[in-house]
Symmetry: C2
Subunit: 169 residues, 2 copies
Amino acid sequence: MNNACSQHAHPHRLVQQPLTELTDRLRAGSRKVTGQREAILDVLRRHASPLTNREIHAALGKNDCDLATIYRNMHTLTSMGLVKRFDFGDGAARFELLTDASDHHHHHLVCNQCSAIVEIEDCFPTEYEEALAKRHGFTAVTHRLEFFGTCPRCQKSTAAVDPTIARPS
Amino acid sequence: MNNACSQHAHPHRLVQQPLTELTDRLRAGSRKVTGQREAILDVLRRHASPLTNREIHAALGKNDCDLATIYRNMHTLTSMGLVKRFDFGDGAARFELLTDASDHHHHHLVCNQCSAIVEIEDCFPTEYEEALAKRHGFTAVTHRLEFFGTCPRCQKSTAAVDPTIARPS
DNA sequence: CTATTTGCAAACGATTTGCAAAACA
DNA sequence: TGTTTTGCAAATCGTTTGCAAATAG
């Protein structure tokens, strides 16, 4: 995927926490600290935007490991809370490192043209969500919210967008 | 997928517009009115919640047609604006009939346990979205928003939920 | 009659899984 | 050493596509 514009990502997400802190979290969860896991976590550390398994695999370079290993580890890391999974509706899951508790819930603004991703702090108002849950008798209600549009850089080009892809109107 | 609770769906979406009105829209788009298309549209007409291609296929019963035909037609119908595609993050696209312009934008509340789907009118505040777009220099910004939780019926049972699936925290 | 549409089978891309070898603790 | 993790290959699942036959207008 072409992430040419991804440098627009909000700087606050580029905070790199030390790798040792991450491996410690692995040990705390009684998981083994393997070279593959370190390499994967290291790739995630240095990326502000969520990456697909394939992108992680490509970014591993020298520390290459099997794609299946990445898939398995993203499951593990997600269930351990080290990583969060996002879906942009294009058929590939994306994963982002959770640096701290405050990162556990946020959203994205994705360019329909070049797939640039901007981290967003805006969120659906809690009070609305609570009212909505109560109204329908649901409990433990959460939401998935992602924004799509045309990024500044792509506003000049005139590339067509596939109208059948799941971009809400 | 188990949609046992789907009768919770908001009644306003059960409005069934005549099949002829739909086929007319096909003709208006210079598309042929085939038996398969009529059958597919008829299935969508009588369902309040979005259906997967497989669910549509199963619902066709006697008027069975090839799955590939359904996939191709959902593309066609989506690009014609007769149908809208939704993604709940479980890997299967869902489609819902658009009865009128007011239906072009709405959201869902999905039960994590039984996949019951409730149609939701609540939406992310337009002014927030506009501010967000301006702040990041994006144009033509839209959003995808879906809610997840535990439906009234499932609040009694104690089924575990896969923590690795993309349900935002 | 002619462009569209369909059925069938094969192809695809993302993801998962079985199993034996390799590696952490 | 005993359990977890990895690599490899095969399997799965949703979806797409090539192509010849069927069909709507």
